[in-house]
């Protein structure tokens, strides 16, 4: 009985429209954010910042984009890594060709470029749905990477095809250490998460969900399918594009089309499914599971068995465990990790009584 739901009445529209209805939840969220902003950059090691937290936040943002499209609007898409590539290379080219442009503007512009590409590849969604749409969006994955590979202009005619990302400079200050880059990523991700929460709980999100649940009924109620679906594609691609640009500029610090292969698209898809379709927090949890669990398994096994067991067997074993965990999650909690969290929250509310 840490806090309870009963007896809390919403007496005004503004209370009803709140993003996070409970005071305690708001406090918890604010505390997590303040901790991440004020404590983590100063206390976490460079390894944690640059190899764990930065890629996790970047991919969470991409997973959030994928979740908007798949979880909220119900459009199955397999092109998220392609949109990431579009965003990353757009950001590189804006920085390269318009040096005066501030980094944050480049970031937004790269999101817009990805959104434009997303709208084009979202057009088939007006005619086809479900698995067939997934196959159609697969084309975007291959097409975008192929275009970047094929035309040297995107890579500034670099012979090897792997280019170095520029330094991040905001208002004359360059953000190059892991802690500085982490702060940039954290703030961008926080703002965009807030926007996503807003959209999801407002009329935009309700339109998406109506289309997801039954598009014919949604159309009959006056929701424009064309607008809603393309809007979902655009916004989702915007998130993927910004996430891709951040991923390339802060984590990889280099740009290479091969880094955004079909494999990454699948991983992002799994993040959304494992994390929880149609939830904001699910994107974070899923990204954490898919991205970080293999790393932790690797660290754990090297720490525990060390030299005693052949490293080849250990590496293979990690993959087996990872696969088994994924299957178990899908069997025992098909709604994703976000649902587990919800159950936990419910328990907390009723504690010390059992549900």
């Amino acid at each position: 009985m840490l806090y309870r739901q009963a007896g809390r009445f919403r007496t005004s529209y503004s209370m009803d429209a709140r993003l996070v209805p409970f005071f305690e939840d708001r406090i918890a969220l604010a505390a997590v954010f303040l901790f991440a902003l004020c404590v983590v950059p100063f206390s976490a090691s460079d390894y944690w910042l640059s190899a764990i937290l930065i890629p996790w936040l970047c991919l969470s943002l991409v997973a959030l984009g994928q979740n908007i499209l798949m979880g909220y609007a119900g459009q199955l898409s397999l092109g998220s890594a392609g949109f990431m590539a579009a965003g990353a290379f757009a950001c590189y080219n804006f920085e390269l060709r318009i040096p005066e442009m501030p980094f944050l503007v480049s970031l937004i512009m790269s999101g817009l470029v990805a959104a434009a590409v997303g709208i084009v590849f979202g057009l088939p969604s007006l005619r086809i749905r479900g698995l067939y749409l997934a196959v159609a969006t697969l084309a975007s994955q291959f097409f975008i990477v192929w275009v970047i590979d094929k035309f040297g202009w995107f890579k500034n005619y670099d012979s090897s095809g792997i280019i170095t990302a520029q330094d991040i400079v905001i208002l004359g200050k360059s953000f190059t250490t892991p802690a500085e880059m982490y702060v940039v990523v954290l703030l961008v991700v926080a703002v965009m998460t807030l926007l996503a929460m807003n959209m999801a709980s407002g009329s935009v999100g309700r339109n998406w969900m109506a289309v997801r649940d039954m598009d014919v009924a949604a159309e009959a109620m006056g929701i424009s399918l064309l607008r809603t679906k393309l809007q979902a594609f655009a916004i989702s691609s915007f998130y993927c594009g910004v996430g891709g640009a951040l991923f390339a500029f802060t984590f990889l610090q280099s740009l290479e089309p091969v880094a955004f292969d079909i494999n990454l698209s699948f991983r992002i898809l799994f993040m959304v499914i494992i994390g929880g379709l149609g939830t904001i927090i699910g994107a974070y949890l899923g990204a954490g599971f898919i991205l970080l669990l293999p790393v932790f398994l690797n660290i754990f096994f090297h720490a525990v068995v060390g030299e005693a067991v052949d490293a080849t067997i250990v590496s293979a074993f990690e993959q087996v465990i990872f696969g088994v965990l994924m299957i178990m999650f899908m069997i025992y909690e098909p709604l994703g990790i976000a649902r587990l969290l919800e159950i936990g929250q419910e328990r907390l509310r009723r504690w010390p009584f059992k549900v």
Binding site: D46, Y47, S50, A51, I52, P55, D149, N156, S159, S160, G161, I162, T164, F251, L252, Q253, S254, E256, V258, A259, D261, V295, F296, N298, I299, F300, H302, A303, V304, D310, A311, T312, I313, S315, A316, E318, Q319
Partner: protein, 447 residues
């Protein structure tokens, strides 16, 4: 049962998490030197990773058994990269500080994608990137890339050497005019790396160059080989990675009736693990070697005896793989680490003590692998003699051509280099210069 599991599972998980993250006790002995091993032991590139890093670990164990480097014992930590750029970056950050608290001196990704992903972090972190026969080619210019080395020669020398080999087979460079060569490569930075040099030489010699790419992981090559059959090339240079792709290349060539004696594989394309699965189809295929396979080299023979016969501490799960292409290449790479460490200890007056990154860099740059030195180590004929300098960060630039006879590799040529080493060097310098001017790098004065 179920309730017990429920109770035990969280505790076990918590304990696991604790052990994983609790920092190991910093029992820092004076005479220890830490090396990172970012291995790739699973996935399509596992044959490469297990052999190469197995060779590296075995050599370090061997050195330790023989008293270390002037008494300094070697320690190492491993991390799984899966030959993936993102995982390599994670491993780089994880291995940066060793279990004994020492910072790493050298990083060896055994993969061009991984090398590119970390190459810009080197000077800042004061770590040497030792690309043993792979990676970014123009890093051979030490004035622009002071922290990156190409100790076993790079891909541009290699493609030059291959073309020279073809010319020799055809009876001279003048006979190469009008010949058609297909560069069949995996569609990645690694596959494209030799192209700048190759295009230029093809132009100079009047050859026709056809570039055909295979999307990773390269198991599907049917259409590419059909295209090759249409093109009817005189030679095919195959630039693949991973056992699946490499053996598929040979079986497809056999199916199309393309003579294997006209097929030249890259250093990372042809090893025993790639040849054996292809069976008879592999017979006759040429492969370039920068470290010659074989267990008869005194060092390899002694390592086998010490680590596998006298005791069973060797890193290879299958001892028969000792002396294979990848294993010997790994030993070759580790020999350079240890020789560089010896140099660093002497040059900084720290004989018998641990050194730091900048001292190790100077030691690596001072590598002078004379024939006498190779003889002393016991690898005469396994790697080519070479010397590095402040500006020249690539190795001998020489390779040996091998041919698979169905059971093992036969050595066809002696060490040979590209037709015009100064031309290759010029390409390296102009490419590095372009990078330097684009990224505002002030080239180091090697004067």
């Amino acid at each position: 049962m179920k309730s017990i599991l429920k109770r035990v599972a969280p505790a076990a998980l918590a304990a696991a998490a604790l052990t994983a993250f609790a920092a190991p006790p910093a029992a820092m002995a004076e005479e220890e030197q830490y090396f990172p091993v970012p291995s790739s032991r699973v996935g399509p590139f596992s044959a490469m990773g297990t052999g190469y890093y197995g060779g590296i670990i075995d050599y370090m164990q061997y050195v330790n058994k023989n008293g270390g480097v002037n008494g300094v014992q070697l320690v190492w930590a491993e991390c799984e990269t899966e030959y993936n750029a993102a995982r390599t970056v994670e491993c780089y950050q994880r291995l940066l500080t060793g279990p004994n608290g020492q910072k790493m001196l050298v990083f060896d990704t055994l993969g061009t994608p991984g090398a590119y992903a970390v190459i810009n972090r080197m000077s800042e972190e004061e770590t040497v990137l030792a690309q043993y026969g792979y990676g970014r080619t123009d890093a051979a210019d030490g004035t622009v890339w002071p922290w990156v080395f190409n100790a076993a020669s790079h891909y541009w020398s290699q493609i030059g050497m291959k073309l020279q080999f073809m010319a020799d087979q055809e009876g001279g460079v003048e006979n190469m005019k009008g010949k058609k060569i297909v560069h069949l490569h995996i569609d990645s930075a690694y596959g494209r790396e030799p192209l700048p040099a190759m295009r230029q030489i093809a132009k100079d010699w009047g050859m026709e160059l056809v570039e055909i790419s295979i999307p990773p992981p390269g198991l599907e090559q049917q259409s590419q080989w059909l295209q090759i059959r249409r093109e009817r090339p005189d030679w095919v240079t195959f630039w693949g990675a991973g056992s699946g792709m490499n053996s598929t290349g040979m079986t497809n060539a056999a199916r199309m009736g393309f003579p294997r004696e006209r097929l030249v594989y890259v250093t990372f394309g042809g090893a025993e693990e790639d040849m054996v699965p292809a069976g008879d189809a592999a017979k006759g295929t040429y492969v370039v070697a920068n470290a010659v396979p074989g267990r008869d080299f005194p060092l390899i023979a002694d390592m086998y005896k010490t680590l596998y016969e006298d005791s069973n501490v060797g890193n290879m799960a299958n001892p028969d793989r000792v002396g294979t292409v990848y294993y010997n290449r790994g030993v070759g790479a580790a020999v350079m680490w240890i020789e560089a460490l010896k140099n660093a200890q002497e040059m900084s007056g720290k004989v018998g003590k641990a050194v730091v990154g900048s001292e190790f860099r100077d030691g690596y740059e001072a590598l002078n692998m004379t024939p006498e030195k190779l003889e002393e180590i016991g690898i005469t004929g396994m790697v080519a003699p070479f010397q590095l300098s402040c500006a020249k960060h690539d190795g001998a630039g020489k390779f040996r051509m091998m041919q698979w006879n169905g059971e093992k590799f036969d050595l066809i040529t002696d060490w040979m280099g590209p037709p015009d080493p100064t031309f290759i060097r010029g390409l390296v310098e102009s490419s590095a210069g372009k990078f330097a001017s684009e990224n505002n790098v002030e080239p180091k004065n090697c004067g």
